[in-house]
């Protein structure tokens, strides 16, 4: 059982090894209580995080994705988070047009020393996902909703309801 049904939601984190993974460690060392939903995937650098990983995670049914890297200018690899910032921002703005609530994805910067900030981020993000609730799925769109949208499309002509 991946998440505790009824209690947890499926939240996936992508964290850079040098800053944010360390920040999450620091939060642990400081015994800063956090919700248990988040599952962290460690990557070397936020620049390694192809936005498509996030899209894939959300389309495949995760309820939330949180990305965290080093603060801008502090990247262990000098530039990774600068690229990441552009790509992640583009993705964040892209999600709603796909029908994915942009609140299901956030990215931020947490340094290895910022255990408290990490606690705050995880807590706030987990709350946000719980407020949104379990993510609707593309392969389980309610028939009524589908019929409504399909009706609008055929009204409006071939492609898009205009």
């Amino acid at each position: 059982m991946p998440v505790l049904t009824g209690k947890e939601l499926r939240i996936v984190g992508f964290l850079c090894n040098w800053c944010s993974y360390g920040g999450a460690d620091t939060a642990g060392v400081g015994r800063f209580n956090q919700p248990t939903d988040l599952r962290i995937i460690r990557v070397p650098c936020s620049g390694r995080i192809d936005p498509l990983f996030i899209a894939k995670t959300l389309i495949n049914g995760a309820d939330g994705v949180l990305v965290s890297g080093c603060h801008p200018r502090d990247c262990h690899y000098a530039e990774g988070n600068f690229y990441a910032r552009r790509r992640l921002e583009v993705l964040k703005r892209f999600l709603p047009i796909l029908g994915i609530d942009p609140g299901r994805f956030d990215y931020t910067w947490v340094s290895a020393s910022e255990g408290q900030r990490w606690q705050k981020v995880v807590t706030a993000f987990t709350e946000q996902i719980h407020t949104l609730g379990p993510a609707p799925r593309f392969d389980a769109v309610a028939p009524e909703l589908l019929a409504k949208v399909a009706g609008a499309i055929s009204q409006g002509g071939n492609r898009v309801a205009a």
Binding site: A150, I153, S154, G157, N158, R159
Partner: protein, 348 residues
């Protein structure tokens, strides 16, 4: 053959509802500008006028078919995993209603491959046997139609179980196979003998509209003669963009790929459509590819349909002339033109 029946436009929904009650009923419907076969929904009128964008190929041979699911089981430490397979060979009884003759005829090409003695395919056989084709003869022809080139025609019953021919107010309904006969029992159908003559007229008129087919009887030899002529194939394939639209929309293209999709201790084996126009189709594990360019691949597609398959299968051309490959090609590659070019070159 059994009695000839008639179904009026008004009565058609009644018949469809009755058919849908007993089995899966697939009908052509409009979806975002395309016409595709979908499970019958009384709220949505089927589209019978023009040929569907995608043929009913998926009814028997789905784009992706789960052949079986598998689960590994383990009991504690170091135990040898057990493997449980759950094959998905059963098929749902289905009626495909309203395809054009070319769409149904495509399965004749499949049958020789998957129902032959050598490698009978249980998945295909089950689906094929569970599916009944209620076909509508054409009363119009499009610029891309060429069924008459390949030994067929706008009212070709081959591959169908019932044939409907448009007549005033409705359709003449003929059973063209034993499998189709039970469907005639519906009270929505009335005797059609009086409409038979009109139907014959429609058939003849439509066939006449197609005109005379060019002689491509030498295509087998003509294409083989071009096998090593890569300049010829370069010229034919220059504009091809190597997508799979022609293949996936073709009622006769039967090639597939097999992939396993596993997660953790379980997974499934998928058989999905493959397209010989894709680079990956013949890509070998080593990285070598015997058909590295689109010229090689288009040569195969045309050669297979008009030469290699007929050679193996009593001259039967592996093309039903529906014209989807021409109509749906983003760059209008025209298979008719290629075959004719090869035939012409062989004559020259």
């Amino acid at each position: 053959m059994a009695a000839v029946k008639y179904i009026s436009r008004e009565k058609l929904p009644e018949w469809l509802k009755a058919l849908a009650a007993e089995r899966r009923l697939l009908v052509p419907v409009e979806e975002g500008g395309a016409v595709v076969f979908r499970a019958y929904d009384p709220a949505k009128a089927p589209v019978f006028g023009s040929d569907a964008t995608a043929p009913p190929k998926g009814s028997v041979f789905p784009a992706s078919k789960e052949l079986f699911s598998y689960t590994y089981g383990k009991e504690g430490e170091d135990a040898k995993p057990t493997l449980t397979l759950d094959p998905k060979t059963t098929a749902e009884p289905t009626v495909v209603f309203g395809s054009k003759p070319c769409g149904a005829r495509g399965f004749l090409i499949f049958d020789r491959v998957y129902m032959g003695k050598k490698f009978p395919d249980p998945y295909y056989i089950a689906a094929r046997e569970a599916t009944v084709f209620v076909t509508m003869a054409c009363d119009t022809v499009e610029n891309t139609c060429f069924c008459h080139w390949v030994g067929s025609g706008p009212a070709d019953p081959a591959g169908s179980d019932l044939l409907l021919t448009p007549v005033a107010g409705g359709w003449l309904v003929e059973a063209v196979s034993a499998k189709g006969e039970p469907l005639l029992a519906s009270p929505a159908l009335t005797d059609g003998a009086a409409k038979a003559a009109e139907a014959e007229e429609v058939k003849a008129k439509t066939r006449a509209a197609l005109g005379e087919a060019p002689d491509i009887s030498t295509s087998k030899e003509a294409l083989l003669a071009r096998f090593d002529d890569m300049d010829f194939w370069r010229d034919q394939s220059d504009k091809c963009i190597s997508c799979g639209a022609c293949t996936y929309l073709c009622p006769t293209c039967y090639c597939f790929s097999i992939t396993d999709e596993g997660s953790g201790m379980s997974g499934k084996r998928l058989r999905s459509w493959d397209a010989c126009m894709h680079f990956q189709f013949t890509l070998e594990a080593s990285g070598h590819n015997p058909r590295p360019t689109k010229a090689h691949r288009l040569k195969n597609r045309v050669g297979h349909k008009f030469s290699y398959y007929p050679t193996l299968h009593d001259g039967l051309i592996a093309c039903c002339g529906c014209g989807r490959c021409v109509k749906s090609c983003p760059v209008s590659v025209d298979i008719r033109e290629i075959v004719q070019n090869a035939v012409a070159k062989a004559k020259a």
